[in-house]
C-alpha cells in the first residue's frame, strides 16, 4: 500500500463513517461442494440386476484406481505383465490422492505428503527412484523436501514454530512431553528375534509381539502412563486425527504409537503443490487405455478359474472376464460387490476437505498451519515450495476429520449446504487471518464419507486384517484399509503385494520388491 492508497483509504473510511454506513461488504465468494461420487456409489447397495452388453477379456482386472490399484498396475508392468485393465469410478485416477487444478496452483483433495520412506518401504523406494525423486544413494531431491519453516501452531493469539504447544507451556507439560518422546525412542528401537521392528512401516511387516498394545485405546495408554497434561493430550490427539481421523479414544494404542515410532525422529517430508497426486499422476500416465474411468464396479463373481466383473458405465454396462482380479476398492464395499464375502466390519471416518483460493498468501506461512484446540486440522499451503521470495496467489487446503459417530456424522455432513461450510471455515481461519475474506476468491468443499479406515482398538490384534488380505478364488485384495490405517506406504505395499501374488499365480516370477 503506498501513501496515496493509504490516504484514499482513510478518506473513504472517513466518508463512510460520515454517511453513517458501516463498511458491510458482502463478499462475492464463489465455490461448490464437490463430493466424491457417493450418489453413484450408493447404488451398489440397491440390489438390481444389470443387463450386460459387451464382455472384455484380460489377464488381470484391477478394481479401483487409488494408490493401491495404481501400485498394483505399476508392479505388474515392472514384471512385464501388460495385459490388465484398471476400472475406476471417478473421472480421475488417484482416489484419496487426487488434486484440484486452479489458475493459482494445483492443490490436493486428500493426501498431501509422503515422508521420506523408511528402509522397510522397499516398493516405495523403488518407485521414488524410478520417478527420479530419490537418487541411488537414497537422497531425495532437495526441491521436493518440505522447505523450512514447515509447521506452526496458532495459540494465545499468535503463531509459534512447531506443533507442540510450547508457548506458555508449564514445566509439567514439557516434562510429560519429554517422557513421551523418551518412550517413543524406546519403542522405535524394539525388534523381535527375527529382527522385525515392533512398529514397521508398512505396518504388516511389524512384529506381532507387541500387539497387546492394540487391545488398549490411546486414551487408556496415556492414562496408564499417568500423563495428564492437556497440551500433551491435545498434541497426541492431533496426531490421531491427522493420520486416522480418530479421537484418542477411538485409536488403538498400537496404531497411535505407530504414527510416532515407525518413523525416524526428525523425518523429512516430500511435498508437492498437488500433494500425492504428483505421484498418482505419474503412476497413471503410462496406463493410457488400460485404465478406464467412470466405471462403477457393480459385482464380482468368481469360480476359481475365471473372475467376472460387472461394470456400469455412462455408455452402458459391460463385463470384464479375467484370470485374476485385484480388488482395490475400500473394504466396506466387499459385502455389496463380492458374492459371499463379508469381512470383519471396518469403520470409517468421514472427512471434509476444502480448497481456499487466495489472491495472495501469507508471508510468514509455513507448509502446515494448525490452530490449537480447533476442530479442524488447519491448512497446508500449495505454493509452499515456490522459490519466489514474495507471496503470490495461492491455495490453502483445509482439513477436518469428523470424529463423532460415523453414521450420524456422515448424514449431517452430506446434508450441510456450502454456505454452512463456508461460514465455519472462514470464521475459523479469520481468527489468525482477520483479512482472509478480502483475499479469498473461491472456496470449494469436498465431502468424503468413507475417507479413512479407523484403527479402532482390537482391529489389528484380532487378525481380521490378515484374514481380509487373503486371496479368495482368484480375487486378491489390496487397499490401505488392510493395514488398519490409510497411508501411501500402506496402499502401495498392498498393491505391490497383491500384484506379486498374481504374478506368482500366473507363473510370471520376478524378484520381490517387498
Amino acid at each position: 500500500m503506498n501513501r496515496r492508497q493509504f490516504l484514499q483509504g482513510s478518506l473513504t473510511l472517513a466518508g463512510l463513517s460520515l454517511v453513517g454506513c458501516p463498511s458491510g461488504r458482502t463478499p462475492t465468494l464463489e465455490g461448490t461442494v464437490v463430493g466424491a461420487s457417493w450418489q453413484r456409489g450408493h447404488r451398489l447397495r440397491e440390489a438390481s440386476e444389470l443387463k450386460t452388453g459387451q464382455r472384455l477379456r484380460t489377464d488381470v482386472a484391477i478394481l479401483g484406481g487409488g494408490v493401491a490399484g495404481l501400485s498394483a498396475a505399476w508392479r505388474l508392468r515392472r514384471a512385464g505383465l501388460e495385459d490388465f485393465l484398471l476400472l475406476e469410478l471417478e473421472s480421475d485416477l488417484g482416489g484419496n490422492s487426487r488434486a484440484a487444478t486452479y489458475p493459482a496452483s494445483r492443490a490436493p483433495w486428500g493426501a498431501h505428503y509422503l515422508p521420506v520412506p523408511t528402509l522397510e518401504s522397499r516398493a516405495v523406494i523403488e518407485l521414488l527412484k524410478e520417478l527420479d525423486v530419490m537418487d541411488e544413494a537414497g537422497q531425495c531431491r532437495e526441491e521436493l523436501l518440505c522447505h523450512e519453516p514447515q509447521e506452526r501452531l496458532y495459540l494465545h493469539g499468535r503463531w509459534q514454530e512447531g506443533l507442540f504447544p510450547t508457548l506458555g507451556a508449564t514445566r509439567r507439560d514439557l516434562k510429560e512431553w519429554g517422557e513421551f518422546q523418551a518412550e517413543i525412542e524406546r519403542l522405535r528401537r524394539l525388534r523381535d528375534r527375527q529382527g522385525r521392528f515392533a512398529f514397521a512401516l508398512p505396518a504388516p511387516l511389524s512384529s506381532p509381539e507387541w500387539l497387546e498394545l492394540d487391545g488398549l485405546s490411546m486414551k487408556a495408554f496415556v492414562g496408564q502412563k499417568g500423563w495428564t497434561s492437556r497440551r500433551l493430550r491435545w498434541w497426541l490427539e492431533y496426531a490421531c486425527r491427522d493420520d486416522f481421523g480418530c479421537s484418542l479414544e477411538q485409536t488403538s494404542a498400537w496404531a497411535g504409537l505407530h504414527y510416532h515410532a515407525a518413523r525416524p525422529p526428525a523425518d523429512q517430508l516430500l511435498v508437492w503443490p498437488e500433494g500425492n497426486a504428483w505421484l498418482t499422476d505419474r503412476l497413471a500416465a503410462p496406463l493410457q487405455e488400460r485404465a478406464r474411468t467412470g466405471c462403477l464396479v457393480r459385482s464380482v463373481r468368481t469360480d476359481g478359474r475365471r473372475v467376472i466383473t460387472r461394470v456400469e458405465h455412462r455408455e452402458g454396462a459391460f463385463e470384464v472376464e479375467s484370470r485374476r482380479a485385484i480388488f482395490c476398492l475400500p473394504s466396506f464395499l466387499r459385502p455389496f460387490v463380492l458374492e459371499g464375502d463379508a469381512p470383519e466390519r471396518f469403520t470409517y471416518a468421514p472427512w471434509v476437505v476444502a480448497n481456499l483460493v487466495l489472491q495472495r498468501g501469507d508471508e510468514a506461512a509455513c507448509w502446515d498451519n494448525v490452530l490449537y484446540e480447533s476442530p479442524s486440522l488447519g491448512y497446508v499451503v500449495a505454493t509452499h515450495q515456490s522459490l519466489a521470495t514474495r507471496p503470490g496467489p495461492t491455495v490453502w487446503t483445509w482439513y477436518r476429520p469428523l470424529t463423532g459417530n460415523p453414521v450420524t456424522e456422515r448424514e449431517e455432513m452430506l446434508a450441510r449446504p456450502w454456505e454452512s461450510w463456508r461460514q465455519e471455515i472462514v470464521s475459523e481461519l479469520s481468527r489468525p487471518h482477520p483479512d482472509l475474506i478480502d483475499r479469498l476468491e473461491r472456496l470449494d468443499v469436498m465431502l468424503l464419507g468413507h475417507a479413512m479406515v479407523r484403527p479402532v482398538p482390537g482391529l489389528r490384534a484380532s487378525k481380521a486384517l490378515e484374514a481380509a488380505s487373503q486371496p479368495k478364488k482368484g480375487v486378491h485384495f489390496a487397499h490401505s484399509d488392510l493395514s488398519g490405517f490409510s497411508l501411501f506406504e500402506e496402499a502401495n505395499y498392498h498393491g505391490a503385494r497383491a500384484a506379486e501374488e498374481v504374478l506368482a499365480a500366473l507363473d510370471k516370477r520376478s524378484p520381490s520388491l517387498l
Binding site: 532437495e142 522447505h147 523450512e148 514474495r390
Partner: protein
C-alpha cells in the same frame, strides 16, 4: 492596540524567516548543492517581499481585515510548505516549479505584512517611532528564528512539524486580532470562520504528521529524508546529510554514498578483473546500479543482464537526478538490460550462461530471502556459469555474523563450487564478506579510475584474522534454512 501589534510584529517576523529557512533547507536536502539552492531561494524570497510591499499601496480601506487575511494565507501556505514539498518530491515531477512558486507566494504575502502593520499603527505613534520599533522587532524576530531553527526546531521537531507549528502562530495572530478588534459583524464572522478552519487544518497536520509514514520518517532517520516511497515489494527511503546519501530498504541501510565505492569495488573487481575477455555479465539484485557502474568500467563487456525484483527501485535509480549521478547513469547504459523478476525463479526458468555473475541480495533475514542462499540456489548459479566463468557473492558480515558467513561459504562448496572467501572494511557497515568463484588470478586486469582497490589492497582482502576465521556450520538447504537461524541469533546478539 499597540502592545498586541508589536508582539505580532515579532511573531510574524519569526514566521517569515522560518518559512524561508524551511524552503532553503528542504530544497538543498532534496536537490543537493546547498549554496546554490539557498541563494536562489533567498533571492526569490526577498524580491517577492519587495513585490508584496509594493502591492500594499493598492490596499485602501479595511487594512485590519486585509492584515488578518494575509495572516491566514501565510499560515496555510507556510505551515503546509514542508509537507507539500516532500510529497511533491516523493510523488511527482515539477518539484522546482512548486518550490519557487511557493517561495514567491509566501514572500509576497510576508512583504505585505510590515507596510500594513505600519499603517495600523499610524494613528497611535509618531512615524519615527513606528519605523524604529517595527523594524527593530522585525530584526529581532529574524534573529530568534535564525537561532531557533538549527538549534531547537530542526533537531526536535523536524521540518514538517516546525512548518505546521509556525503556520499555527500566523493563524493565531489572525485570531488574536479578530478577538481584540472585531470589525463589522458580518465580515468578522466570515473571517473568524476562515481563521478557525485554517487553525484546524494546521493543527490536524501537526497531529497527523507523526502518523503519516513519510512525515514520521523525517523523525526516524538520523538524516533528512530526501524521498520515501513504498513499492509493492519494499519501503525505499533515501536520506541525505551534507553530501552523504543513504539508501534504506525496509529501514535497513543499503549503502552510504561516502563509502559505497569500497563495497562495490570489492564486490565486482576481484572477480571480473581476473577474466581475460568478459562479455556476458549477469547481476542478481543490485537494482541501485552501483555494482553495475563498476562492471561498465570494462570495455570488453558487451551484454549485461540485471535482474532485480523491484521495478520501483530500478526506475528510481535510473531517473532520479542525484541517485543516477551516483551510479553514473549505469542503468541507462545501452549495454544493460534490466529485468524485474524474482531472481531464483528467473534463474530456474531462463537458460543462458555468463562469463561473470554478481549476486548481491539483501541479507538472509527472512525465510523468503534465505532461499536465495541455499544449496539449490547455488546449483542453479553454477548451471549459469560459462566455462571458465567467475562469480562473486555478497555474504553478510564475517565479523558480526560469523557463522552465517561461513554457512554461506560452506553451502556454496557443498553445491560443487570452488570458492574463496574475502572481505572488506566499509565504515558505514563494518567488516563485510564476499565469496569469489572462479578466476585463478583475481585482480589481473584492474581497470583505471578506482578509488579503493590496488594490488596491495586486493591481496589484503583475502587475509582473514582470527576473529573472522572459519567455524563448523551446517549447509543451508531449503529444507532446513539453517542460515536464517544463525543470522537471526547473531544479529540479535549484536543488537543487544
Amino acid at each position: 492596540m499597540q502592545p498586541l501589534i508589536l508582539v505580532s510584529v515579532f511573531l510574524i517576523a519569526t514566521c517569515g524567516l522560518i518559512y524561508e529557512l524551511i524552503a532553503g533547507t528542504v530544497s538543498s536536502y532534496l536537490l543537493g548543492d546547498s549554496v546554490m539552492q539557498f541563494s536562489t531561494i533567498i533571492g526569490v524570497y526577498l524580491s517577492a517581499m519587495g513585490v508584496g510591499s509594493y502591492l500594499a499601496r493598492y490596499i485602501g480601506r479595511g487594512v485590519l481585515q486585509r492584515f488578518v487575511q494575509v495572516q491566514i494565507l501565510v499560515g496555510i501556505l507556510g505551515g503546509c510548505s514542508a509537507s507539500v514539498l516532500f510529497l511533491v518530491f516523493a510523488h511527482g515531477t515539477g518539484f522546482s516549479l512548486v518550490l519557487y512558486c511557493l517561495v514567491f507566494a509566501i514572500g509576497t504575502l510576508v512583504g505585505l505584512e510590515i507596510p500594513l502593520v505600519m499603517r495600523l499603527l499610524k494613528d497611535e505613534l509618531e512615524f519615527k517611532e513606528i519605523v524604529s520599533q517595527v523594524l527593530a522587532l522585525d530584526y529581532i524576530g529574524a534573529l530568534a528564528a535564525s537561532l531557533a531553527f538549527p538549534l531547537l526546531l530542526v533537531p526536535h521537531l523536524g521540518l514538517v512539524r516546525t512548518a505546521f507549528l509556525f503556520g499555527l502562530v500566523n493563524v493565531g495572530v489572525a485570531l488574536a486580532f479578530l478577538m481584540r478588534f472585531p470589525p463589522t459583524r458580518q465580515a468578522s464572522q466570515l473571517l473568524l470562520a476562515q481563521a478557525v478552519l485554517a487553525f484546524l487544518l494546521l493543527a490536524a497536520g501537526l497531529a497527523l504528521s507523526e502518523r503519516l509514514t513519510t512525515l514520521a520518517e523525517v523523525q526516524m532517520f538520523p538524516d533528512q529524508v530526501l524521498l520515501a516511497r513504498s513499492t509493492p515489494y519494499q519501503r525505499l527511503v533515501v536520506t541525505q546529510r551534507s553530501g552523504d546519501l543513504r539508501l534504506y530498504l525496509n529501514n535497513n541501510l543499503q549503502f552510504s554514498s561516502l563509502d559505497e565505492y569500497r563495497y562495490h569495488e570489492a564486490l565486482v573487481h576481484p572477480g571480473l578483473s581476473g577474466l581475460e575477455n568478459p562479455h556476458k555479465i549477469l547481476i542478481l539484485g543490485g537494482g541501485d546500479g552501483l555494482a553495475l557502474r563498476e562492471v561498465l568500467r570494462y570495455p570488453t563487456v558487451t551484454e549485461i543482464t540485471l535482474v532485480d525484483l523491484d521495478p520501483g527501485m530500478t526506475e528510481l535509480f535510473s531517473r532520479h537526478p542525484l541517485l543516477s549521478k551516483l551510479n553514473e547513469g549505469s542503468l541507462r547504459s545501452p549495454r544493460v538490460k534490466v529485468i524485474n523478476a524474482d531472481a531464483f525463479v528467473w534463474l530456474r526458468d531462463n537458460p543462458g550462461s555468463y562469463d561473470f555473475v554478481l549476486v548481491d541480495f539483501p541479507d538472509p533475514s527472512t525465510f523468503a530471502l534465505g532461499k536465495l542462499y541455499t544449496i539449490s540456489f547455488y546449483a542453479e548459479l553454477k548451471r549459469h556459469l560459462a566455462p571458465g566463468g567467475a562469480a562473486a557473492v555478497q555474504c553478510t558480515s564475517p565479523l558480526f555474523a560469523r557463522r552465517s558467513y561461513w554457512c554461506i561459504l560452506k553451502t556454496m562448496e557443498a553445491s560443487g563450487l570452488r570458492v574463496r572467501p574475502y572481505h572488506v572494511f566499509v565504515p558505514s557497515f563494518g567488516e563485510w564478506g564476499f565469496a569469489l568463484i572462479g578466476p585463478s588470478r583475481p585482480g589481473e586486469h584492474l581497470p583505471a579510475g578506482l578509488r579503493f582497490l590496488n594490488q596491495a589492497a586486493l591481496a589484503a582482502l583475502f587475509e582473514f584474522p582470527l576473529d573472522m576465521s572459519s567455524l563448523p556450520v551446517e549447509v543451508n538447504r531449503l529444507s532446513n534454512q539453517a542460515l536464517v537461524r544463525y543470522y537471526e541469533e547473531e544479529w540479535r546478539a549484536v543488537a543487544q
